[in-house]
Amino acid sequence: MITSTTSSLIASCSPQQQAKITTGQIMLWVIAACLPAIFLSTYFFGIGVMLNIVLASVFALSFEAVALKLRNKNLRTNLLDNSALVTAVLLGIAIPPGSEWWLILSGVFFAVVIAKHAFGGLGQNLFNPAMCGYAMLLLAFPLDMTSWHIPVAQQADEPFSPLSLASMQTSIQFLLPAFATDSVSNTLNLADGLSMATPLIEQKMAGKSAIFAIFNSAGSWLDLLRRESGAGWELVNIGFMVGGLFLIYKKIISWHIPLSIIGSIVLLSLLFYSENSVNTYGTTYLHLFGSATMIGAFFIATDPVSAATTPIGKLLYGVIIGCCIYSIRVWGSYLDSIAFAVLFGNFCTPLIDHYCAPTIYGHARKRIWKPAN
């Protein structure tokens, strides 16, 4: 009786149990944490960002499938780790709404195929794939990447909603210019017109916070939600911050990188802020909420593959990135510097990992670079 069942017993190596979290679930939580900000962005600026994300996801999954097939990997397990999806979502958020479809295609191709699979696939890429794609697009198509095309009211007194049917149609026509009507095509070919830059680009840090303006002029909470108030971008960033804090709470990411990035930007901005040269050095608030710092700190720089691994290493990594973000923004010629700062941090990751390793038990507080034997 016994021998007949023993042949069916599983033989496995310890540990016999694992924690329930999987890579696919981690990536899904990251996407879920982006959702509040995506909804806010849609509310204020139209469905452009959602279209970007959907198109980017479709492209990313197909490129990933092709690349996995070429590398003879199991499609099912590797697609389900959702890493391509996260790259697509972050790239879709980063690429300005109203961009045309070929911009998204080339960005996603570069991110998924070149920056990830050509380096060895998930876990082997040295650089953050989404930021590689974004940096390539910024260098190759600078004009397209620095202008937002979003639907705005045609006449001043007309009730307007970016979520109205007409606006949605406009957004889709921005995406697929082949279907664009004449009026839309005209505006695409102009340098301005329907185009609007992000607050950062327009004001080069000289702006004031729209939220503070509302509250200073005795406005109410509801005024925040009116699209004309101009507080949209700041609310989107607050949405990213809330999502990031949620990820920290769920222990999907650790607090070290966001804290060190935000902390170094705060310190530097406080150090260098002056009322006189307000055109160059912005307020701390604007650095944090008027630009893409929140998404960079919580979602982009915390990409586990390209970031440092140990807690001390993460702090150092965050400090490097924060300083780069501030420097490039203020003294450099690129308007939004998250991509280049994160890529620079990725350059430093192997060295940081080497020197910031924990001390091994029993080795008398010696660091790894002085081996015991």
């Binding site: 016994i2 149990q17 999987t22 890579t23 691994t309 038990y361 029993g362």
Partner: protein
Amino acid sequence: MKHSFFPATSSSKKSYYFTGGIKPPANKKRSLRSVIMDTPIPEFLYLSLKQYSGPDAIPVVCVGDKVLKGQLLANAEGELGVPIHASTSGTIREITNRIIPDEFGHEAGSICIEADGQDTWITRQPITDFKSLGPELLREKIQLAGICGLGGAGFPTGKKFSSNKPIDWLIINGAECEPYITCDQALIRENPETIVSGARILQRICRALHCVIVIEQDKQDAIDALGTAIHDCEIELISVPAKYPSGSERQLIQMLTNQEVPSGKLPQDIGVLTANAGTASAVHNAVINNEPLISRITTVCGDALKTPKNFRALIGTPVSFLLELCGIDYTSLSRLIVGGSLRGFTLKNLDAPIINTTNCLIAGSLREFPPAPAELACIRCGSCTDACPAGLMPQLLYDQIRSNESAKAKQYGLNDCIECGACAYVCPSHIPLVQYYRAAKSDLAAQKLRQRLSAKWQQRFEVRQTRIRLNEKRKKGSRRRSLSRPEGMDVTDTSLENFSRENAKQQIADAVARVKARKNRTPTNTQVKTKNPGEGKP
């Protein structure tokens, strides 16, 4: 030996901490619902001569002998061996190879006793006061009783406590941190006085300055029971936070004394000795009641059982016997794990007998232990680094081992890995990290052995070459004997030079010819194998 600041007392519950660690679900409630049950005597008991990774014991009985309970069946080989005693009275049926429940599925010689049901003890001489015996005598007594580390490794306790190093702390380890295992907790809450007595005996043996008993904070019933039992002693009771692996010796020492055991050294080198709570109880039995180690507490649990419980199992009981006592459902049994769920290994043959170190049997169902998902790529999330109690970087070691750079992994601390499994537990990509480290460690060990052997053989070869050359010089210079070189010998071949001896007998020549004809090997290179047909002198 410098004393480190020891802050904890039974009231303050304060201790230091170790980095890393995980908090898996404990799964201990079901087996703690009932008290420890004494097992009925099985029909056949199989006492394995190999109780841990040390040398096998040497039997002193023969097939057909009638033995009494507690009688010596096999002598320990050397100081590192463990003697084997009969777990019940009966007749020796056979002494053959049988599978033992260790990770490698080895077979070892086992003495099979057919129980006669009487369970008659040999004559025992219990004592009342262990203080009447000196430390060395006490140590010999526990060595002869076969006491070994019941917490997992099975190292002979007498040998462990035989060092002459000054000992500051004796730590009795009752921190059962691994999920599913409850044998120590059950023993402590039911027989705390045996543990306290065993602790005092061990303290007398090693002459430790302080003795502490350690328990995890979530075992309140054991803490209370022990608190009552030690009310008049100088032994301290410390409770540590429940974190895996707080029961690991090195981490425990770091938690209690804030010192780290240096890599490659033993705890006694820094003045600390540890013993498992079950071992302390067995020591008490051996010294006070004069009973050798013939039974141990084993937790039998898992979803495939109706009534999981703790048993006072006789060593040599077949695993299937214990499982059936708990009402096992063989159809739902999918994995039998020996040990806890994090460090235990699977057993395929349920006829294997219990050995000294079998502390837990988990009869797992498929729902409880689903098959491990496929291994994905490492995403460098760092959870393993956060979880490692030894301060290693598991993902770095994994990367190096997969890149065939095991030697570099050794430099980065591979041999300091305690194989606790915390890293593999938290890995979201389900990488079997511990298996990689074990394979790499054994590869490195094999490599080291190979190099040691090569160096030794090279040295012997060169010594022999030197001797031959010297002899040849001497013989060349001597006029008393002429060295006639036989025909066909290659004089330039220095490695297999044969000294020809005169007086070859014809029958030897015939025998050589016969041997040559009988062998039908593929002819090896004749440059090497020079023969001396008819040349040897007997």
